[in-house]
Symmetry: none
Amino acid sequence: MPKILLVEDDIQLAKNLMLFLTSEGYTVTHATGQAAGIEAFEGGSFDCVLLDLSLGDGSGFTVCAAIKAASDVPVIFLTASADEACTVAGFEVGADDYISKPFRPRELVARMKNAMRKNSRSSAALSCGNVTIDPARGIVTKNGAEVYLSALEYRLLLVFFSNKDKLLSRDRLTEELWSVSGEYVSDNTLNVYMKRLREKIEDDPQSPSIILTVRGMGYKAVDK
Amino acid sequence: MPKILLVEDDIQLAKNLMLFLTSEGYTVTHATGQAAGIEAFEGGSFDCVLLDLSLGDGSGFTVCAAIKAASDVPVIFLTASADEACTVAGFEVGADDYISKPFRPRELVARMKNAMRKNSRSSAALSCGNVTIDPARGIVTKNGAEVYLSALEYRLLLVFFSNKDKLLSRDRLTEELWSVSGEYVSDNTLNVYMKRLREKIEDDPQSPSIILTVRGMGYKAVDK
DNA sequence: GCATAGTATCACCTCTTTGTTATATCAGTA
DNA sequence: TACTGATATAACAAAGAGGTGATACTATGC
């Protein structure tokens, strides 16, 4: 149940929005002004912020800047002003999207989802199942315990985890791992590496649950 | 100079757009239909795709799906239809933004930048001097050429590059590399790794310019 | 200059990684 | 069911990683 912070001084509009968002399965917290917005943000943890540009006690830009300075939560401007300069300014203070009133509720939700999706993707750690890569330290863990991977195994896993749910052909994988150095490797080498990697990260290497084989096509990392 | 792929069947509109985008410093490739769009995408590497929804030989949705299945390049729909259902559908096939015509050029650019920024944030390269780490691929390059580092050498370099200009004590470094596994290593081991790392990344390993020795204190990566 | 502690380098050993070939297993199909 | 191409596994050799102790160098204070 994603938590949304709505900063909007038009009470009637806010009520309608909250009604709709709640019915879509979101938990909404409402703040009516700049100060209240920043305070609410600091007091709770949110998955997305909807921000009116013109607030009673100041501009939404200030709120956006404050939020972005402290976190990476997506911020979407909701505004009456469809002015181009305002839109550009909104993006410049770090907004993730900018929607002009009157907005259409389903589009709003689509844009919120989009912003949240993007945001979670860029978070530091990559994980899949119970296995996590911390690219900032070059370390792989499984259920919290470190798993030692060789350089090539690490790179192979990285390719999978940064292309989760995507089918990766054997050619593509071979390319990612070996083309850089310009060498050619045997046809079977990838098979062997897949086995070694699975041996280290899968609970049951015989019936993999993290990296699946797609016969005739390639492999694919899935998040069970 | 970011490279843009524009898929648009309205020739006049495309011309205008290309003129504008070029003047803003983008390199634009133009494809006029669905098939041509996918072909162009596969043939080149782009930083962003602008996609008309209604193409002569098919829908932009197909193109978007094809692109998203193969890569993470940001895709922005440009469309005459301001229809809400279309917008939602656009986001559902993985689009990064959806702009209705007539669009305002500066807003378009702001949204393009936004989409590209989000996208690249996940793979911020770390570099120092002529050496670069690409944490998203686990690869180190020096003057563009790949340098093969072993797992420990890679982690050592990662510690330095993510703490650029900071003095790192020998204890701290030893901890970062070996404490995870709980093992104790000889006092001299770090010296040996420093030598091996320098051998691979420094222009002149005898007088290092990337990772400096601070006698009695530790080491420090500097950006010359 | 000499002593000293800190750092760099060397030679060496062991264990792992890397890539190969050979063989087994499996899924789909005639 | 038997065949076939695709994938998995096993076993091996060569190269390299990882770690150690001994030795050489170097900055600094006496």
